[in-house]
């Protein structure tokens, strides 16, 4: 396993684009979070806004870059033919996938931590000027506040789970364009469907099962009772999605000809 980890680390570190994409994760997340914070308004007490959710809005866009990193980690091997060398050197295919998952997850956790810190800083700086003040019933965003800590750590975990989901999908379909289309389709289209469905029960079930809407419950810091799922339940749903994708990718990698 150590050798496999080293091999995957070397491949990911030296392939062009990895560093740029991880930078894009941070830049996209922080920029969108800052923009969301700057466009938020809380004119009076009880405005019903969630400062935690607003501060981490950038995760919506950052996850797209995370998905690219994870998909490319698998699919470039297929497009360049590298996969044959990899599997000749390391015949244990499940170990190869596990090593890839470990390396990609570690990198995404690191980038996600920077992105979350930047987003939190942006929210902490911008939101008080937008009406999120003590007078309107909001404490400043700090990590010593339990829900804020959960949202910050949760956004990092969310990104890591998105990486695992994308990795599994890429291992299953083997082509980068199809894999990224599949992942982003599942992530972005299901919430649109959920938003436009008029039947309240169907809508609630969709919000509870779609990976993005369920997983993003972890960002909520206020009015948790009105959520379709509790924060950790939501993250558990996303974990199930990632597990299924990894399992499918691992099984297909094992039984199929490369």
């Amino acid at each position: 396993m150590t050798a496999a980890l080293r091999a995957e680390w070397t491949k990911l570190r030296t392939s062009p684009g990895t560093a740029g994409l991880l930078l894009a994760v941070v830049a996209a997340t922080v920029a969108v979070s800052a923009a969301a914070a700057a466009s938020a308004r809380c004119p009076a007490a009880g405005c019903g806004q969630d400062p935690g959710k607003i501060s981490f809005t950038g995760v919506d866009l950052g996850q797209a870059a995370v998905a690219i990193v994870a998909v490319l980690a698998v699919s470039t091997e297929y497009s360049t033919g590298m996969i044959r060398t990899t599997l000749a050197a390391m015949p244990g295919r499940v170990i190869v996938l596990a090593a890839k998952a470990a390396v990609v997850t570690a990198l995404v956790l690191a980038a996600g931590a920077v992105a979350a810190a930047g987003s939190l800083l942006a929210g902490w700086l911008i939101l008080p000027g937008r009406g999120f003040t003590h007078a309107h019933g909001f404490a400043p965003l700090t990590l010593t506040d339990g829900p804020v800590l959960r949202a910050a750590a949760g956004s990092v975990l969310y990104l890591a789970l998105i990486a695992l989901l994308s990795l599994g999908a890429a291992a299953a379909v083997r082509d980068s364009a199809v894999a990224i289309g599949l992942v982003l389709g599942v992530l972005y289209l299901l919430p649109i469907v959920a938003a436009v469905v008029s039947n309240a029960t169907v809508q609630r079930h969709l919000l509870q099962t779609a990976p993005m809407t369920a997983g993003l419950n972890i960002l909520a810091t206020t009015s948790l009772r009105s959520l379709p799922l509790s924060p950790w339940q939501g993250l558990a749903v996303l974990t199930a999605w990632a597990a299924v994708a990894l399992l499918a990718g691992g099984l297909l990698l094992r039984v199929r000809d490369a």
């Binding site: 684009g17 919506d60 690219i68 364009a177 990224i180 982003l184 649109i192 436009v196 469905v197």
Partner: protein
């Protein structure tokens, strides 16, 4: 009614987009232009068929379930069907241009989705304040969705205009023009890059 069509449009779009970006490894300007024309024509035809089916099926299902469907005259419906198909065609050209520019299908697909579907998602789910939503839907390629609006806007009625309610901040053709402008700019840039770069 809008709801069903929009869903069909985005799903269809994603499928079209992927196969298009696949094909996006052209050599030089003429090839790119030829590819753009072919892809636009194919997407338009496929989109038109899908849109007509979606409109017929959507209004039938809505009526069968006892919903009142706001009357829209034939011209508006035709504009919506042709507009949806046109939107898919232009979006396909945008995807092609980005594919030629970026030369990595995964990144190109992501950029197109982030430019068209993500703003729509943000607007539909009211993630930002309504003012910011409207500005977003005016500026990004997702403005093209405005072509699907069938309910007229009356300035004297102070209904808040939200995308979730089927109301777009731009007039239908203006929104379509925004998408066209993006596609044209991307195609132009792709041409310049293709001429300059080593294939």
């Amino acid at each position: 009614m809008d709801v069903v069509k929009t869903m069909f449009a985005t799903a269809e779009y994603r499928r079209g987009l992927i196969s298009n970006t696949f094909a996006a490894s052209p050599r030089r300007g003429q090839v790119l232009a030829a590819k753009a024309i072919v892809i636009a024509a194919v997407s338009f035809t496929a989109g038109l068929v899908a849109a007509v089916i979606a409109i017929l099926l959507g209004s039938y299902v809505l009526r069968a379930n006892g919903n009142y469907v706001l009357p829209a005259n034939l011209l508006t419906v035709a504009r919506m069907a042709a507009g949806t198909a046109g939107m898919l065609a232009v979006a396909a050209v945008l995807a092609l241009a980005l594919g030629a520019m970026l030369r990595r299908s995964a990144i190109a697909v992501t950029v197109v989705i982030a430019a068209i579907i993500l703003p729509y998602l943000v607007a539909v789910t009211n993630l930002l304040s309504p003012g910011a939503d409207n500005w977003l839907m005016r500026l990004v390629p997702a403005a093209g969705f405005a072509i699907q609006q069938t309910i007229p806007n009356y300035p004297q009625v102070s209904n808040t205009c939200t995308v979730a309610g089927g109301c777009y901040p731009l007039a239908p053709w203006a929104g379509f023009a925004v998408l066209c402008a993006w596609a044209a700019a991307a195609l132009g840039l792709a041409l310049v890059l293709l001429r300059r770069r080593d294939a």
